[in-house]
Point group: C3
Chain length 102, copies 3
């Protein structure tokens, strides 16, 4: 059996829960083939009080090509980061069945 592993970009976005639907739409419009959403809490660099309520924030992870990552990061920089508490970061992962994300 041949396993197909391919290097892809894992883009992680952590943002306010209110942005959930909009961010999912951005991800889909950018051409991502899927995403994973986790309800999280946390404190950002604005030093707000830490919420005790799980689900205050969302973490969205999506495995994409570098081009889709670039498109999404541009959108985040232009339309979201000036107005909302959010962070985004990328790393390289080796994906089994990577062709699904191309």
């Amino acid at each position: 059996m041949q396993m197909e592993m391919s290097a892809k970009c894992l883009l992680t976005i952590v943002a306010e829960h209110v942005l959930k639907e909009r961010l999912i739409e951005e991800i889909q419009n950018a051409g991502a083939r899927g995403f994973t959403l986790t309800e999280v809490s946390g404190e950002g660099s604005r030093h707000r009080r830490v919420s005790e309520i799980m689900g205050e924030n969302i973490k969205i992870e999506t495995i994409v090509t570098p081009e889709v990552a670039q498109s999404l990061l541009t959108t985040l920089t232009r339309d979201y980061f000036p107005h909302y508490a959010a962070i985004a970061y990328t790393s390289t992962v080796n994906v089994l069945r990577g062709q699904k994300y191309e």
Copy 2:
């Protein structure tokens, strides 16, 4: 004090919740020393409707040797990916107390 950091493989599996017990058993049988399980939601490349229910899917993360990762990826490719919506990817992490995972 000496800190022991060692490079290990972080294997992440995202799959349908119904696979939880079977995947945990696979991970343990492959020789992994532990895992972290998160209840998540999301949409895969089959473009199913996004569930609003947290916990529809599970994300399992396990820190393993390359050999254990390879064994698990082979199992996933052979026994799970043909039948279930699932993704798997690996990355390299530097683990404190890495000797626990050898």
Copy 3:
């Protein structure tokens, strides 16, 4: 528009839920600018029974400079790992708006 991406250290700590407040305080004292907390479950290398209860453990992720990561890893090694079930690992990520974490 110019996007500012910078390489940072993503430090992940998985520990017993009872350590939540103490670990958050350690992270803040070390100079981290924020963190994300996820309620998880799992089994560690002590081979305890897998809890069915989500939130048994916590996963804390914080994006920091190498110096802050080093400081936190030293604290974990000295004050927590001898007494508690916990793991910690680091990886490199490219952060949008990285200057917030410096």
